[in-house]
């Protein structure tokens, strides 16, 4: 922990920090605490860039930055600490270049690596407070666990698409395994696992690359994250001994800030909500009563727990057998009527594209019908419910048809009159972005009875539109 050293501020510090120092609650002592603090920012991306700018601007004396990636042009709409001229440079170096321009006084420490179970304790131990600005669940659990063990406060923010979350964890730090302190009546501070004991399944994990992200939303969260860090350091809230100071009311009720922004709604509809969280969980794997048996620094370094495995628990993902799948090239041949084995000729049928409508808007295979995956799942749930309500049999009842047609295009549901009694009907092809959702979609369409008891083939295109771009049409605008 940074020692508080009493000294006069230099002339440059006086001028540089004057506007924030005169804010009620700040003053000289608070500024000196910032100058004597060491902050670690893990991730130099959409959260880390804005957070680092304000941490540096405010005069935190030592700033470490961890990231193993290089700057890409698709980062720049939100990662405002980089620049077009620095594409290809290590993100850490690029961000430090920017920060030095903003404030040359702090010491900047580059860590040109991803945080791993092997290096985490070594890096984190050098700092007073950690900002989690990373982009995946496995690293989030790792950071939180190491912060519990090293007793470091953690400010955690996250954002995807148009949602943001922010929470202060482990502050002030309480030693691992202690879930109550004599005379302290308020909840002890939680860790990340106390808030989210189970990781999301990989299927629910949406990364910025896959799901998209609004620059201002992630920027807002990064700035708010810096704000909390500055407050904690300036006021000394991270001092563990604060718990022993009478009158035992130093901690703040743990809370989670949620920012919701919606491009589909009118102006002024964005909202902040702060929800009250529970404190340290007695049963928490990392900080609860029996946690010292589960979690140690040595264990983490040796690979226990296994974070990658923990965050890729078996998912409900469907894997179709190969005979129910076709390649992008085969589909192209079907479209062009140039199949190599005409005796096994597959009819053209219908192509369903299950990507989100935003992806679809940039381009699709000619004739494709857009049914976003979520809509398809809704339709499947409707069909299933109807079945449970006594609508037996493979054929779709009239009532179910009406309900489904509010979600699915009629082309998929309708049966051409003249094909009704034929042995086979034109197939349904399903394509998605990369070939995962399409397999589940095939299953769901069959469950809905759209394979007409086996008379109609339903298959997916292996590798999705990504494969279409790679194998068939390099100019296809895939994002």
């Amino acid at each position: 922990m940074a020692q508080y050293t009493d000294r006069a501020l230099t002339e440059e510090e006086m001028e540089r920090y004057s506007r924030q120092m005169i804010v009620p609650g700040m003053g000289k002592d608070a500024q000196l605490r910032l100058i004597n603090s060491k902050v670690l920012i893990i991730g130099a991306g959409g959260l880390g860039c804005p957070a680092a700018q304000y941490i540096a601007g405010a005069g935190v004396g030592t700033i470490g930055i961890v990231d193993g990636d290089v700057v890409e042009i698709s980062n720049l709409h939100r990662q405002v600490g980089h620049s077009t001229t620095r594409v290809g440079m290590m993100k850490v170096d690029s961000l430090i270049t920017h920060l030095k321009g903003l404030n040359p006084l702090p010491s900047y420490i580059p860590h040109l690596t991803h945080l791993t179970p092997h290096n985490a304790a070594d890096i984190i131990s050098q700092y007073d407070l950690v900002l989690d600005c990373t982009d995946n669940p496995a690293t989030r659990y790792l950071i939180s666990d190491v912060c519990v063990l090293l007793e470091k406060p953690l400010v955690s923010a996250a954002s995807v698409q148009a949602s943001g979350q922010l929470t202060v964890l482990n502050c002030p730090p309480v030693p691992q395994g202690i879930t109550s302190i004599l005379g302290v009546t308020h909840p002890l501070p939680p860790c990340y696992r106390c808030c989210f004991p189970k990781p999301p399944p990989p299927s629910a994990m949406t990364t910025c690359g896959e799901a998209g992200i609004v620059g201002t939303v992630v920027g807002m969260m990064g700035i708010a994250q810096a704000g909390e860090a500055i407050k904690i350091l300036a006021k000394g809230h991270h001092r563990a001994d604060i718990l022993n100071d009478p009158p035992h009311e130093p901690t703040f009720p743990p809370s989670l800030l949620i920012y919701s922004y919606d491009l589909e709604k009118g102006p002024s509809s964005a909202t902040f909500r702060s929800v009250r969280m529970a404190g340290r969980r007695k049963t928490c794997f990392a900080c609860g009563d029996n946690s010292p048996q589960n979690l140690t620094l040595e264990g983490i370094q040796k690979g226990t727990p296994n974070y990658d495995q923990f965050c890729s628990l078996p998912s409900a993902k469907v894997t179709l057998p190969m005979e129910d799948r076709i390649s992008a090239s085969t589909y192209k041949d079907i479209l062009a009527g140039t199949q190599s084995e005409p005796e096994q000729k597959i009819l053209q049928g219908i192509l369903i594209d299950t990507r989100e409508k935003e992806h679809f808007s940039f381009g699709a295979i000619p004739g494709a019908i857009n049914v976003p995956f979520g809509k398809l799942l809704t339709a499947a749930a409707i069909a299933k419910r109807e079945k449970q309500n006594g609508q037996e049999g493979r054929e779709i009842s009239k009532e179910t048809y009406e309900r489904l047609s509010s979600v699915l295009p009629r082309e998929i549901l309708d049966q051409e009159e003249d094909k009704k009694d034929k042995e086979s009907e034109p197939p349904i092809f399903v394509v998605c972005r990369r070939g995962h959702d399409s397999q589940e979609a095939v299953e769901k369409l069959r469950e809905m009875g759209l394979d007409r008891g086996g008379k109609r083939k339903i298959v997916d295109i292996i590798g999705g539109m990504k494969a279409w771009k790679e194998e068939i049409d390099p100019s296809f605008p895939f994002i």
């Binding site: 954002s159 989210f196 999301p200 909202t271 809704t378 299933k384």
Partner: protein, 101 residues
Amino acid sequence: MSSSKPPKGHFTILYFASAGSFTGKQSEHLAAPLPLRKLFETLEGKYEGMKAHVLDHSLVTINLNYVDMPEPGQEQEEGEKEPVVIKEGDEVAIIPPVSSG
């Protein structure tokens, strides 16, 4: 995310992040009262697969306060505190963790 006042005999439920993408909506009104232990079951009935994809790893709040979800199958034991019931006019939120940045 703004929510309109629920009609009589209902509560409001808010779907954040992946809960919103899964249900295709940000909020709706459901019939109250509803015991908290029936909440996931009710939602799973409406949105098949939601439990495994969203609910199991989400946190739940009632009127902005975190609530512990009762363990499945865990019947109320004698002397245990009253089971939580979602009341008319309450605001429930389903909050999955967001991991990206």
